[in-house]
Amino acid sequence: MYRVVAIIIFLGLFTSCNKEVQECYTPTNVPLIVGFRVIDTMVAVDSLNRPDTTVAFRDTALYFPVFQTKVKDTIYSFIGDRASTAMAVFLNPDTNFMQYILQPNQDIAIFDTLNIRYEHKEHFISNDCGYTYFYDIKQIYGGGKRVLLDSFEVTNAEVSTSQKRNISVYFTD
């Protein structure tokens, strides 16, 4: 009886061995996740006619937002969803600086500028996925005249496969 069980297990395990196939289920291009937030300021007066100001920081949804950049004479556009509260853009590992033009609504020609300084490092994901780049955000700042952008915040400086929000851009209400 034990011999039969042993032979069955042996054959089962042996036949379950498949030739190694490269299977990668992790993104090998690591994106920078940009979140959209709004500083919502409400000024009112109470029943005694005293000023009552409420400031709320909350996510805001943009209508097909567009990030545009220029790399080696080619313009790349990243377009978000209909009601995006965050979207992913790439960083260029060949440089330590990128400038993105942000158009909050693809139908309205209003543009703001986002400058990002960063450092990149090589990171081993797995044998199947190989290596990729992780990034460290060093600085974010606006450029030119700010139209809708109010401020920036680095929420998670390490750009990795974690899919966490890395920076937040604040719009004025």
Binding site: A6, F10, T74, N92, D94
Partner: protein
């Protein structure tokens, strides 16, 4: 009369020696053979003791007698992993297993081997090789069904160590804006160690010739040894270097030498 007295005494002495030898063999067979389904305490039936009621001293002598103990040293060769290499030539492991019984059902186990791995993808290429040893204990939980039944179901624990080298890894990283970067890491010597819980079966095909299998659950104790670097796809003795746990299987053929002590 005197002559017949001597003959009577000689016969009595012979009978005494004969009974004594028979009793000792009986004790041995009871204590060494669980198939009788008696505990050691019950292995001296009352009637057997009664047989010696006229010779209490013989019982005392037999209690002092240390039952002979069968030692065994078993050496087995794994055939599963070499066969697996036929299907997946990028991983290879060769290993032998030896055990030595400390007690009747407890074994000291020493395993050793070597092997390696190879990654040959478009974006990553390297080779690695290593040697390993495992030391552990194993206990049989199988009651013999008949005399000389030495088949075993075992549970055990192991501590494994591997020393090896991962060769220089060539890799490419895609740039999301086009193009790829090609780079190479330097080769790396590594040491890794792990713990294992095992379960197995051994059965004697022919006198002295054994076969059996072993299932292993392994826990890497140095899982961060390759953090952020190319980890060998096969650390012989353990498995994928990038995984904190792994499972293993061996199928053995081997030979046992036995001696009484």
């Amino acid at each position: 009369m005197k002559k017949s007295y001597y003959i009577f005494c000689a016969l009595l002495a012979l009978l005494f020696v004969n009974i004594h030898i028979g009793y000792c063999q009986e004790v041995d067979s009871f204590t060494n053979n669980k198939s009788n389904r008696f505990s050691k305490k019950d292995s001296l039936p009352n009637d057997s003791v009664g047989l010696h009621s006229n010779a209490d001293s013989s019982i005392k002598v037999s209690k002092k007698h240390k039952p002979s103990f069968e030692r065994q040293l078993r050496v087995m060769v794994d055939v599963f992993n070499p066969l697996r290499t036929v299907i997946n030539p990028n991983n290879y492991t060769f290993e032998i297993n030896s055990d030595y019984n400390l007690w009747k059902d407890a074994f000291l186990v020493l395993e050793a081997g070597y092997g390696g791995g190879k990654i040959n993808y478009d974006n990553l290429k390297y080779q690695s090789k290593n040697g390993f040893v495992r030391l552990g204990i194993e206990k049989s939980f199988f009651d013999p069904l008949y005399n000389d039944d030495r088949d075993m179901v075992t549970l055990g624990l192991r501590y494994g160590m591997a020393i090896g080298k991962r060769g220089a890894a060539e890799y490419t990283i895609p740039n999301p804006f086009g193009g790829v970067t090609t780079a190479q890491t330097s080769e790396k010597n590594f040491f890794t160690h792990w713990g294992e819980a095992t379960m197995g079966l051994r059965f004697e095909l022919l006198p002295g010739f054994y076969t059996g299998w072993q299932l292993r659950m392994k826990f890497n104790l140095s899982a961060n040894a390759f953090a952020g670097q190319a980890a060998p796809n096969n650390i012989a003795g353990y498995g994928p270097g990038e995984k904190p746990t792994s499972f293993g299987f061996n199928y053995y053929f081997g030979y046992t030498i036995r001696w009484r002590q």
